[in-house]
């Protein structure tokens, strides 16, 4: 049988039979609409007038001067409507669901950014929306929970397992299996069974396409290095994808090392994971020697996931992209650094990319360009960072 939806050996469709038909249906619908002029025109219009694309390309002058190496540019996905890159994918999927005649959308969320983006578009399209979120994440990201409810979504807390992102995905998959005929599962990252990793990447690749054109206009050349944070890996795939054929461009993913990759409290999948099959895909996962999925830890709810998208596993295996691990402390320092240096408060997820850039930029020459994907803004994280630093702002 021909293997579809594979990146080398990674990817596939490892889902229960109950949802397999829906996965095939989605695959057919996506094949049909991905090149459909009307669908694409409508999506482009939404990107422009609802998400406010293209996002800006910002020259980080002070950071460049301070680090004394490469010229640093920042792709401002934090300036999108709803405050992160997640809107790109949610718009694409919910629009597709509308074309497929589905009335109910479910989603999982970690930091809440994908949940907020999905709830936003469901409000716009008058669709029913239910978001699954780990109970622990609901506490860490209470503001986003309220935001989703404000947008008319139902937020369902998940208490099973570690009560974080992976458990929210488990529960969303169970909901999907139960309500399969009416429900569209809007997955938030480049993960899950085919076609999700490909489809989500396609909805996010506009980041890299814009960035390439913007840099060509500003600098007349390609960047030398592109850095993005990686949980499941959607913002990273989004900015990497258009640069993959450009072999001179180094691609770097920053994953969450939590309290350190030599502790048992991290989410550094590429650094410490093994090949496995989970959540619909063959990829790399943090797991024990019998294949039980490991509990993970990161200050960032959005990177707190024990796996990674299959295309990243492939980019890593083939050596096309490098992955580095950034600790909570390094991420928090980068959060503070970017706030003070450039006056931009990054999402704590994106701060992992900033932290990696702080290490890489000084090793590069001034005539080289380093591009950071700033995937989201940090308003949602301010309270948690204050708590991390022992500052009481709760009043």
């Amino acid at each position: 049988m021909e293997k579809i939806g594979r990146f080398g050996d990674f990817g596939g469709q490892y889902v229960p039979e109950t949802v397999m038909n829906a996965v095939s249906e989605l695959q057919e619908a996506y094949e049909r609409y991905r090149n459909d002029p009307q669908f694409l025109a409508e999506l482009r219009e939404l990107y422009r007038n609802y998400a406010f694309r293209p996002s800006l390309m910002y020259y980080a002058r002070k950071m460049t001067e301070d680090l004394g190496g490469a010229k640093i540019y920042i792709k401002r996905e934090d300036m999108n409507h709803t405050g992160s890159h997640k809107i790109n994918n949610a718009l694409g999927q919910v629009l597709l669901a509308k074309y497929m005649g589905k009335k109910r959308i479910i989603a999982e969320t970690g930091a809440g950014q994908h949940g907020v983006a999905t709830a936003t578009i469901c409000a716009y399209f008058d669709m029913e929306c239910e978001v699954y979120m780990g109970r622990e994440d609901m506490e860490r990201q209470a503001l986003n929970v309220y935001r989703m409810e404000l947008l008319g979504a139902k937020v369902t807390g998940v208490d099973s397992g570690t009560a974080t992102l992976k458990d929210a995905i488990n529960e969303a998959m169970r909901d999907w299996a139960t309500n399969i005929e009416t429900t569209f599962y809007c997955i938030g990252s480049v993960m899950g069974p085919h076609p999700y990793p490909t489809m989500v990447r396609d909805f996010q690749k506009i980041i890299g396409e814009e960035a390439k054109a913007q840099l060509m206009e500003k600098e007349g050349k390609l960047p030398d290095c592109v850095v993005a944070c990686v949980g499941g890996g959607s913002n990273a795939m989004g900015i990497f994808y258009d640069f993959i054929p450009d072999k001179s461009v180094r691609l770097v993913g920053a994953e969450a090392a939590g309290r350190g990759i030599d502790t048992d409290q991290h989410a550094a999948t590429i650094s410490r994971g093994e090949k496995g099959i989970f959540h619909g895909m063959k990829s790399v996962f943090l797991q024990n020697e019998e294949g039980q999925i490991a509990p993970v830890f990161s200050i960032s709810a959005g990177l707190d996931y024990p796996g990674i998208g299959p295309e990243h596993a492939y980019l890593h295996e083939t050596g096309r992209a490098d992955y580095v691990a950034i600790t909570d402390e390094e991420a928090v320092q980068a959060f503070e650094y970017l706030s003070k240096t450039e006056g931009i408060i990054p999402a704590v997820e994106s701060a992992h990319a900033v932290a990696a850039a702080r290490k890489i930029a000084p090793t590069m020459r001034p005539d080289q360009i380093l591009l950071i994907n700033l995937s989201g803004r940090g308003d949602k994280d301010v309270q948690q960072i204050a708590r991390y630093r022992g500052v009481n702002i709760d009043g």
């Binding site: 469709q13 109950t18 829906a22 458990d167 169970r174 299996a177 139960t178 019998e290």
Partner: protein, 263 residues
């Protein structure tokens, strides 16, 4: 050696009986309790047992089996330990034993090593809930080489895929009664006449129905559509409720199922 499932199917055909298949989570309450329960179920008239290998993230399971899996893992259950339990059971019973487990448990163990171990310990088949027809090649070679059936599932949402799945299935065909996850149900919305009509047009092997069956009466009704029934959560819930004292409860329940099926 012939697969014990085939021997059992032959025996059921001779006696004209429907198959009673039950499921239990290995190590829930300790291996000794699982072993005792399996042997007691055989005595109570169960034909085939599915031994659930607990997984950290059982996406196809409802609350009852999720919680049992968590109890079993917290109690230290491992796949290695389950195989050792099967070896002990094989000194006492020749009934068909299957493992129900998630794809990652097999893959991470090493596919060849896993199916070798199945053959060595006396496992007759595996049911992998997150391995659809499209990915069956993943374990095909290793399972066939070791004479272990990799059981296929069809569901009411399989629609146009039922024919190709049923035609290619080996051992028995696991017919899922309804959409959703495992767990006991009061009612079913599936049109069983239509569902099994479609299945039987293509299947050349016995067809068993599972998901949601909780009583002898339900076993009788559901069994009338096919060759046997599979009961899981209703057994597992008794382990959860009665703990050390679950075996008599499970025995009585299996007797009820048997009587329902035979009546």
């Amino acid at each position: 050696m012939a697969n014990r499932l085939d021997t059992k199917f032959e025996e059921l055909k001779q006696t004209g009986k429907k198959a009673l298949v039950t499921y239990i989570v290995a190590g829930d309450g300790g291996y000794a309790l699982t072993e005792e329960a399996i042997l007691a179920m055989e005595q109570a008239g169960v034909d085939i047992i599915e031994i659930g290998v607990p997984f950290s993230d059982p996406i196809a399971e409802g609350t009852i089996i999720q919680q049992a899996s968590q109890r079993a893992l917290q109690g230290g259950t491992t796949l290695k330990g389950v195989f050792e339990m099967v070896e002990r059971l094989r000194n006492k019973t020749d009934m068909p034993l299957l493992l129900m487990l998630y794809a990652n448990s097999i893959y991470r163990t090493g596919t060849d090593k896993f199916f070798d171990r199945c053959r060595e310990t006396g496992i007759d088949g595996v049911i992998v809930p997150d391995l659809p027809f499209e990915e069956h090649d993943e374990f095909k070679e290793a399972s066939e080489r070791n004479g272990v059936y990799n059981i296929s599932l069809v569901t009411p949402t399989s629609h146009g895929r039922i024919a190709k799945i049923a035609a290619a299935a080996k051992g028995f065909l696991y017919c899922v009664s309804s959409t959703g996850v495992t767990g006991m149900r009061d009612t079913f919305s599936t049109n069983f006449e239509e569902f099994f009509g479609e299945i039987k047009r293509s299947a050349r092997i016995p067809c068993f129905v599972g998901f949601g069956i909780r009583s002898g009466a339900a076993a009788k009704t559901m069994g009338s559509y096919c060759d046997g029934v599979i009961v899981g959560s209703a057994v597992v819930s008794r382990v959860g409720e009665f703990g050390d004292k679950a075996v008599p409860e499970i025995t009585a329940f299996c007797q009820e199922l048997r009587q329902g099926l035979d009546s």
